[in-house]
Symmetry: C2
Subunit: 363 residues, 2 copies
């Protein structure tokens, strides 16, 4: 366990001063060093296997090249691809992600957030946003750099990278309409989340635009994006609206719950009831039946969020306040509004949707 070489060792071997070595090794300052010495220093560093002590650097620069990532639960198949997308762009730029699972628990989230701040993270990528979010409001007031991933807040405090859910939901509903369905129910996700609210609204607009009467397009809200909650909501739906020939779920987990309930009631999917999920999570194509769903590019979502955050960090590097903002409206009175990036989605048709059977399940 021989001690690791420091920059002083490198400087000595290269025959220069510590400061010069530091400059030569740092891309931003190496213009101030002659090409020859720069090369000598880099060779020396290579030879010794020098890697800078990040703690020392961090202490000096007050930056850590580290980013906190708040996600609900790594065990939910949506998030691993996002995490990988984040990791990929972050590491390429010398940053490291610190992942924290919050389990949608506010107290836990706050604890982890504080702990990460204590570790001098330079910013956060937050995939746990509620439409109203005390912690985020506070973070915003304190000028902490944050990028929102997948879920937004009602106030556009922070840049957001999300899927184009309005379009996605429209695709889903249109698919069902084209198959001939006229009684389409929505098993909505939690309305406290932007994804839940946006998809629900888009569902309602799509059915209304097609001239489907409101009572033929009921919305039942699942209290969580989970199989269990999906089952509960699905039971209620089948009890109260037995005439529905199709269901579009707020996400794939809820759809899975619905699948269970259909099975438990002896209803066949898609013959008796068609079902559309949302997200196209891993293994959605292995379900029984393989799920028709809206594909969301989770990895790209994560990658883009990381890019946005880095951009913001770089910008606010020199000066203090910089919050990575775009401008809405024009003129001097314009309010600062954060940029939103919407990534395109597409419908993936598999076996859980089909034309409604004549007579069957008609309300």
């Amino acid at each position: 366990m021989s001690k690791r070489p420091t920059i002083a060792d490198v400087a000595r071997l290269a025959g220069v001063h510590k400061a010069t070595a530091s400059r030569a090794l740092n891309p931003e300052a190496d213009a101030r060093v002659s090409a020859a010495t720069a090369r000598r220093v880099r060779t020396a560093a290579q030879e010794l296997g020098f890697t800078p002590n990040t703690a020392a650097r961090s202490l000096r620069t007050n930056r850590s090249s580290t980013v906190g990532v708040l996600i609900p639960d790594l065990t939910n198949p949506l998030f691993p691809p996002m995490a990988r997308g984040i990791e990929e762009v972050l590491t390429r730029r010398g940053y490291t992600a610190l992942l924290a699972n919050t389990d949608n628990d506010q107290a836990k989230e706050r604890t982890r957030f504080e702990a990460l701040r204590g570790r001098q993270v330079d910013g956060f990528i937050v995939a746990t946003a509620q439409r109203e979010h005390a912690l985020l409001a506070q973070a915003h007031a304190q000028g902490v750099p944050v990028v929102l991933l997948s879920r937004g807040t009602d106030l556009p405090m922070f840049p957001l990278v999300a899927a184009d859910d309005a379009t996605g939901m429209e695709l889903a509903v249109r698919h069902l309409l084209e198959l001939g369905h006229r009684s389409i129910a929505h098993l909505a996700g939690p309305q406290t989340l932007s994804t839940g609210a946006i998809r629900t609204r888009a569902f309602q607009q799509a059915v209304r635009a097609a001239g489907v009467a409101a009572d033929r397009a009921p919305v039942l809200v699942s209290e969580a994006y989970s199989v269990r909650a999906g089952e509960q909501a699905a039971r209620e739906l089948l009890d109260r609206h037995p005439g529905s020939t199709a269901i579009v779920a707020g996400n794939d987990l809820i759809a899975l719950g619905a699948l269970h309930v259909l099975r438990e009631r002896g209803l066949r999917c898609p013959q008796d009831v068609s079902l559309v999920g949302y997200n196209d999570m891993q293994f959605a194509d292995e379900f029984q039946p393989p799920l028709t769903t809206v594909h969301v590019p989770h990895l790209e979502l994560g990658a883009e969020a990381a890019r946005l955050l880095l951009e913001q960090l770089e910008r606010s590097d020199g000066q203090g306040a910089g919050q990575g903002l775009g401008r809405a409206g024009a003129g001097p009175a314009a309010v600062a509004v954060a940029k939103t990036v919407l990534l395109p989605v597409r419908l993936v048709v598999r076996d859980s949707t089909a034309a409604p059977q004549a007579g069957s399940e008609a309300g």
Copy 2:
């Protein structure tokens, strides 16, 4: 973005010296401080919202309370539960995990390993071990604290936390035998991984013990733990051993590949061929058909690995070399051997296994 309070601020507010404040705030040293001042200091810290600058602490103590975690791929459903188990015990003790995906790529693994070392991680949890592993051998030589997770090396260099795969495989084979199968094939995982080798050996022992002839218990090696590789191996298996009435796969992903191939050949599972997976990964119960498999407690595996590493870190805290070793054999000539913890598994019977149909598929 007012500057964060330092320990000097806390000391001033409490009317003591920095060093005293530091002692009062550090559990290990607070015995050397009077209860009264300790309380005063802690109150002051609370009031200011003081959180120590980890970079400074790290620089001074040469420890980071940070652990590197090497996994193949977060997107493989086995690893998120492990990561959560790790996170849970680590954060409880004030540590943070730095996750890195290696994609089973040696170059990538080395790069990430070095990067993490550069960040002064105190140790590693490695779930990417090959039976022969250059990087790990080297890490061992350098005295880097490492705990192996799930996959071991041939040489017991490091403590290992894994599932009791020998028993698990025996359970799987016995289940098939009890159903009446006498032609059981094994779609093995990569033999360069301890899990692949151990499960294969256990398979062979189990069938041999039951008196099944070797040619009635063929072993085909899948070149990766993946659906794709599983499909390839399964095709070869069905081509070369069409008489098999049951398959036990090296893991659930391989089993899934086998399922695809059975379907593509018009063979029904379990009526024509029974199939057993391994791991009981998330959603294995949603496959078509729901998969009979060996349940492995992945979260507990991760948690236990974290515990072992912390133990080792605590121990080697003061002195230098401590490698967290047990002793094998007795007497002065005994070789240092690292502890292995095997967690129990259990067979989960679902719908992919059944008694062989009389006559069908008989070789």
